[in-house]
Amino acid sequence: MAPALTTEKPLRDDHDGATAPAAVRISRVHKTFGRPGTAQPVLDDITLDVRPGEFVCLLGASGCGKSTLLNLVAGLDAPTSGTIEVPGGRPALMFQEHALFPWLTAGRNIELALRMRGVPRAGRRAEAERLLDLVRLGGAYGKRVHELSGGMRQRVALARALAQDSKVLLMDEPFAALDAITRDVLHGELTRVWEGTELSVLFVTHNVREAVRLGERVVLLSSRPGRVAREWAVDIPQPRRIEDAAVADLSVEITEELRGEIRRHGRH
């Protein structure tokens, strides 16, 4: 544990990025399932900050502990050691499965999140409609979840996550189950929504191109144990396209690195 980090007072200092408070501060986090000592740690000494308003993509092979880390940040599980601070309060979380409640309409799903946040009844309907408009699903208020396509469901799930009005949005491979064209459209929507808000995003994926398409920073996790292997700043201006040459070039470089990480495990 690093006392310097936990006692540090967040400073409002916008011209100096180094002292600005982090939106998410993960310091020296270890996570072992089962009895410590017996099992190999899933996460080993992860230290990672997400700055306010930053879009960070967490990249890694399947099973390297990405979901585990995200669950820790979401507060759904506790680290074995180390600290996680999310000064802005409970983060919003989106899963690979839409996780919308099938007994509620699209609009009511969003209203439930508003209600849990304490928004008074009178304002909920209008706010839900506004959020649906934001994800370009203006007419979907009364639609049942099963009447929506996969892409529309994830957009409603995004609107529900935004309804929490959190400072941080955690996304766990939210587009992995979608077809390429739909995913492409949702990348555009997510970028647009993110640019229009102060939201910090921690986006987990195993898809290198997706990470480069979306992130301002791509963090590569190694497997077994999960450690931060390397990170890249992505200097390509938004809006990007997944087929852009610059995106492709950086993806090739990162993929090479990811292959190397995976190859290490075949050697013993």
Binding site: W103, R144, D235, I236
Partner: protein
């Protein structure tokens, strides 16, 4: 690292100033293509495929019955003509007692069911959510569910005498375990994803139970209610048959028992038919529509309505 020249070159190919106009149009196209069409089944289709087959089946049974009577396979007092049963029914109707008999049993059944609901629901919640209670009561509840509730009638009569209270006791002992077990399995089958999603939007504790856990468990709960009604009705008929007394109002079970003591076979068959029809009717009027509605709202009902 990425070069800026390539980026601008790529941006130039996009057509629009920011490439977002065509994103919106692709999205609109996808939404139109992907939107699931929920089709409604026309009423004629429902009549043809849902109503006609059981009607035909009943007519077939009546036809076979009539043939057996015509073939004189057995004595008339054992197998009366279908028309004799019809005459009994008309007789009851003309005396004006038919409604009273049915209502006595139905009101007992529904009242007992409501009491079972009020007891079974909190019991199910406790068993599902409290570990100690589950290990203590869970196996007993499952066991009770397979005990025919007619076995409780002698005990109920000794405790409570031949009274309405004994009837209700037998109904409760039959229906409470089904309702509680239905809720338990409904809660057990809730996908953990919903609970996680609920927790991330802040629905925890009592609010989580009310807004997420219970609605998610509703399909299992309702099938428990359906089964609970079937058990209530069966238990009540057993109780009325065995513990029949002139002091209690005349219900279907007593009517059946009276017909037996009078060796009135048409009356016996009529009693059986009425018990069957009422049991099915309550299910069709109350529980099936409730279940269909819940399942349809969740898209769990394949196509037909």
């Amino acid at each position: 690292m990425a070069g800026t020249e390539t980026t601008t070159a790529a941006a130039g190919e996009r057509g629009g100033p920011d490439g977002r106009g065509d994103l919106a149009s692709v999205e609109a196209g996808l939404d139109a293509l992907d939107a699931v069409q929920v089709k409604r089944v026309p009423i004629t289709h429902t009549l043809l495929h849902k109503v006609l087959p059981p009607v035909v089946a009943v007519l077939l049974v009546l036809a076979v019955w009539k043939l057996l009577v015509l073939a004189e396979v057995t004595d008339d007092y054992k197998l009366p003509d279908p028309s004799a049963v019809w005459r009994s029914l008309r007789g009851l109707w003309l005396q004006g007692t038919l409604g009273g008999i049915v209502w006595t049993s139905v009101s007992r059944g529904l009242l007992g069911f409501l009491a079972a609901l009020a007891l079974g629901t909190p019991l199910g919640l406790l068993v599902a959510r409290v570990k100690v209670v589950r290990s203590a009561l869970g196996p007993i509840l499952s066991g009770l569910q397979s005990l025919p509730s007619v076995a409780w009638v002698p005990a109920a009569v000794i405790w409570l005498g031949i009274t309405d209270a004994a009837m209700y006791a037998v109904i409760l002992l039959g229906a409470v375990p089904s309702i509680a077990n239905g809720l338990v399995s409904g809660i057990d089958q809730v996908p953990p994803l919903y609970l996680r999603a609920g927790r991330t939007i802040g629905a925890t504790g009592v609010r989580g139970a009310w807004h997420v856990l219970l609605p998610a468990a509703l399909p299992g709960y309702i099938s428990g209610l359906k089964q609970g009604w079937a058990f209530s009705w069966r238990s009540l008929m057993a109780a009325e048959l065995i513990a029949s007394s002139p002091d209690l109002g005349l219900g279907l079970g007593q009517y059946l028992e009276n017909a037996r003591t009078d060796s009135d076979m048409p009356g016996v068959l009529l009693g059986i038919a009425l018990i069957l029809v009422v049991g099915i009717a309550i299910d069709l009027i109350i529980f099936s529509p409730l279940e269909r509605r819940v399942l349809r709202n969740r898209g769990l009902l394949a196509g037909a309505r």
